[in-house]
Symmetry: C2
Subunit: 253 residues, 2 copies
DNA sequence: CGATGACTTGACTGCTGTCAACGTGCGTGG
DNA sequence: CCACGCACGTTGACAGCAGTCAAGTCATCG
């Protein structure tokens, strides 16, 4: 199982352990290590830099930063966004633990969007050049990367379907179903979870006005499909929600 | 330059040469071979299967097909689409020469969308398993794949921005700017091109009713920004169009 | 030349954005 | 401990953009 010796652990100032190895990470079934033999995992571990937690509102990178690394979310959550010419912000994605941020910069050499923590977030920084070099020795590594990217593309396509045609209800429903599935896959409750993003972010992401989002939450609650208190959501009738959302339910669907 | 011996050419029934090697393909600067040394290119050539042209309306693959290959478009164009639960079709993308179809299936083992030719289309079939094996010997191959996928993800994010917030005018403008850029990058005219997709497909893709698309073309023409005759589009004022589109102009932006 | 499908144009309705005011919770500081 | 302020969220009124329904025009092909 390749458990590292405890003495290698280096607790950070606030007590978080920055040296948890991939082999010990509860997310390794979802993350980059999938399909990597444990002896190779040690090599992967060596190039990964555990960063100290990012505080809510802080940036992991901003638009224009040179692309050096991709980042695996270990805890907390982030959003990515771009600025339009006229200065409006456009949210392009939310990232939960086990998801990887920064893939879309590989082709450009610099980040075209910014990533900001929605709440205190732990991330593993994975220097891309070293990762590519490692990939030459461990063939399963680039394969796994392709798989992860492919899934993310697929998710994006689902979201595209979502935004392309559907009404406001359907958008919000599909968003919630997607979140529910992702939380479920990570071992959290799929029926009760906290929204780390604000109503503004949700509306921005889904292409809806904040007021519309607020009204929709109200309506879904009236219909007995869910309960909302502030940012805590409890799904009372996931089936109804799924039906509302249509087929485009979200990741890994 | 690795030109294949003419005798190896196998003209198909309708005269198209099915054995054009990557090295001779006018699209190799955009396609998978980017950054691949010519001696390695021969190996890539060996696993690629040039298929006979696909007729307009025919499927390259349908939803549920086992994933075996990705496909590089050599000529013509395709659309990918999914079916929603209630039987509606949702277009998820258009693919021009030099673009690669099927990446989003890598992570799933089967195709989650269907691909259909919008006009007679030539494609190169690239068996994925063999490509991955080849990638173990040619490290630049998986690197290039990651780059291509990254760019496609980036494009998807731009499209997301588009559908997320903007008005109908902005969506259509951005769509046209994107097409224009892609045609330009392929050596075709960036200011005058044929839409291979129907108004229905455009509307479907952009999340607009056909009638709205039609009216918008009319309005853009009134404003002197472009000329439309059937499916032939001529951009009279690309700058205006770009301004209308906002920042989300499309691929490789 | 007629049939068919693609596209356009018009009238009307309704969803959703905008503007505005108000409520609520949380953190700060007295 | 309480009061205040601020950010976030909710609710209401209204208007406009875009969807829907319907009819009509145009091009292509047999």
């Amino acid at each position: 199982m390749n458990r590292p010796h405890p003495s290698r652990a280096e607790p950070s100032a606030d007590g978080a352990d920055l040296r948890v190895a991939c082999g010990d990470c509860s997310l390794n079934a979802l993350c980059l290590p999938v399909g990597i033999a444990s002896e190779d995992l040690a090599e992967l571990d060596q190039i990964i830099r555990r960063r100290r937690p990012i505080a809510r509102g802080d940036h992991l990178f901003v638009c224009g930063d040179r692309f050096r690394s991709i980042y695996a979310v270990r805890s907390g959550s982030l959003k990515t966004y771009r600025m339009t010419e006229d200065g409006r912000e456009q949210v392009t994605g939310f990232f939960l633990p086990g998801e990887i941020v920064g893939f879309d910069a590989i082709g450009h050499g610099e980040h075209r969007c910014a990533a900001r923590a929605l709440e205190t977030a732990g991330v593993c920084e994975i220097p891309f050049e070293e990762l590519e070099m490692l990939g030459e020795r461990i063939p399963s590594l680039p394969k796994q990367m392709l798989r992860i990217m492919s899934r993310e593309m697929h998710d994006d396509h689902l979201l595209l379907m979502l935004l392309g045609k559907r009404t406001a209800d359907e958008r919000l429903a599909a968003f919630l179903v997607s979140l529910s599935q992702r939380f479920g896959a990570r071992g959290y409750s799929a029926s009760e979870f906290n929204l780390s993003m604000s109503r503004v972010d949700i509306g921005n992401y889904l292409g809806l006005a904040v007021e519309t989002v607020s009204r929709l939450f109200g309506r879904l609650q009236e219909q007995g499909i869910l309960e909302v208190r502030h940012r805590l959501v409890r799904l009372l009738s996931p089936a109804h929600l799924r039906a509302l959302a249509g087929v485009a339910t979200g990741p890994y669907n």
